[in-house]
Subunit: 377 residues, 2 copies
């Protein structure tokens, strides 16, 4: 059977899944690149033929029920040309919400920029998708950081609940393993691999920019020079406040606390101290005591609720997070059965987050079938 989009034979017996992708920055483009390269291999291995039928970015999108031409998209996007200008398939003015309502994908992938004021327009797009029974995979952490409590009761939506009920319930599923450290599988390992273990404490270095700057300060640079250097290398953004101020890490921590530890917290529950005040002498003073300062996130369940903090903290040199390199992120779970389980990733660029979105897509396809109302003959 020939796939009308690519002209290639579809893998025998693979189910066809229609993906809608909102947000065509680095992470979104990475999703398209991986699918262009690996669609056939994924189809053969996982029995899921992943077809991108709709995309949207600021200003418009493109739709083709038979599958968009990924080569065409990946020619326009890096050149900075809007996909809405593509002949035949372009849709000027198409929003994420429009995409959900009119293109009715089986799975919505949301990778628009983080907006921590009100999580829009992602929150509207995601809410609408879930209302319509469209599965959702998030790379944008804002909807979870700001509206987990709203999203949680929308049926079977939390990651924990999805994993718990698996394919046993109908309705849309929500996945967000890319939101906490990209490919670092913090949420998945916490929920799934430690399913039978009681987690007593969580620690993480979840903001790569802060880690990189602190390691540069350790090497002798002052804060301003280290920051400028990170900006020059593309590690820190022009406005670095969310990273160096601890807000980004706090959002990730809140997601871990709510989804993995079963808490009910928001960013305002996190004690936050950024790294802006750190000097080489601070770092050296810790080193003299045989310790290393890292931008540490901690979550600790207590009878009074989950205690949360983000702050530069000295760790003994044999602590797993003191052993990270300047370019690594990491997470440590302490549990009642496994003393200590550590995850560390070295992830330059956005492609690992793109791969994390696709692992979530495959987790959904493994547990469910495409909704019948969307499937084609």
């Amino acid at each position: 059977m020939l796939d009308p989009a690519s002209g290639r034979a579809q893998a025998h017996g693979a189910h066809r899944w229609r993906l809608g992708l909102v947000g065509l920055g680095n992470v979104g483009q990475g999703v398209l690149r991986i699918l262009r390269e690996s669609r056939t291999a994924i189809s053969q291995r996982y029995g899921a033929d992943l077809v991108v039928t709709a995309v949207a970015e600021l200003g418009g999108g493109a739709v083709d029920p038979h599958g968009l031409d990924l080569d065409a998209l990946l020619t326009e996007l890096p050149a900075g040309r809007p996909v809405a200008g593509l002949p035949r398939v372009g849709r000027p003015g198409l929003t994420g919400r429009d995409l959900v309502e009119s293109a009715t994908p089986d799975i919505l992938l949301e990778a628009t920029p983080v907006n921590l004021r009100d999580a829009e327009p992602a929150l509207t797009t995601v809410t609408r998708a879930l209302e319509l029974g469209v599965h959702v995979v998030l790379a944008n952490k804002a909807p979870l950081a700001l509206a987990y409590r709203k999203l949680r009761p929308m049926g079977h939506l939390t990651h924990e609940r999805c994993l718990a009920v698996g394919a046993r319930e109908p309705g849309a599923q929500l996945r967000f393993s890319a939101c906490v450290g990209g490919a670092l599988p913090v949420v998945n390992v916490g929920l799934r691999d430690l399913a039978a273990s009681r987690i007593t404490r969580f620690e993480g270095v979840l903001n790569g920019t802060s880690q990189s700057i602190l390691r540069a300060i350790e090497a002798g640079l002052d804060y301003q020079t280290a920051l400028a250097d990170a900006q020059r290398r593309g590690i820190a953004e022009a406005d670095p406040s969310l990273d160096v101020g601890g807000g980004d890490a706090a959002c990730k921590l809140v997601i871990v606390a709510n989804a993995v530890l079963g808490a009910d917290v928001t960013v305002s529950d996190v004690r936050i101290r950024g790294i802006e005040g750190m000097s080489p002498s601070d770092v050296r003073a810790a080193a003299l005591e045989g310790r290393r300062i890292v931008p540490l996130c901690t979550a600790e369940p207590t009878p009074q609720g989950c205690r949360l903090s983000v702050e530069p903290s000295p760790l003994d040199l044999d602590h797993p997070l003191a052993r990270l390199s300047a370019d690594e992120m990491g997470a440590v779970f302490y549990t009642a059965t496994v003393d200590r389980l550590t995850l560390v990733s070295l992830e330059p660029g956005a492609l690992p987050a793109s791969a994390a979105m696709l692992r979530d897509v495959l987790d959904i396809t493994e547990r469910t079938r495409p909704l019948r109302r969307h499937s084609e003959a």
Copy 2:
């Protein structure tokens, strides 16, 4: 509704799962201990009420369709008394195969000692279970190390296939995440979290005994003293040959290669060198070059097949596996999308492997329902 086994109320809406446990050593007893402590919490969180209805060890077992009394089992076992002697429920002579055929659990947990000659009696027990449609969770790695090719075509049995088809196909599922490093989620992360990434290389320190002895040699002990010390501390067995000779690590590597990398290999395909020959001067010579010798497993997919080795190898000090402590195991995946993903665990004792068996049980319960023929009113 009252649970006849414990007298406690069953969690509302939880499905009842009948577990059969073969092998009542440290890992098996750990399963019973975790269930005694956490059955209610697991039931509430995952909707799976896990009831142990049958157990077997060398010489006999015990069966109670309403659920065995875990307190009674955990009184007899640590005291060295056979469970077959328990009043009413004891079954002298009951084998693993008998347990599968007569007690018909929903899920069989296999935790008997590793036998690398012919994998028996585990292989017979596991094969019979799968034939009868009983799901299987292995902690014993021998059946996979010796008979993966036999088990693979038994329906939908490989871990990869199970993840790929999820709940979409009927029939028994096989899980074995405890077989490679206990709670270290090597198999799960490789299959699931790197689902959309092409793995280009795998490295692991998968034998804790060898790692511990090498680190002691590094601290100045000669091999014999380090080994004797490890034996005294219960880290090395009386016959340490499987650990220090590399055979145990090779079995784990073969499981990773077959299940995660899609290879078709056996232990005879692994180039194996143990740590028995290592001296303090070897280790010091590496240190002078700024490197650390670790008991390294490697797997590298090539067009000619998967290249596999287990041997003490010098690594740069900033390599993630050179940073392990003496008591840690670790694994590193290199992929086309995520540069490097590292997993490290500190797991004293057998309880982490027990918890890993139960995470596999919960993965099965999330994807399937108890077989109707076994469920009770």
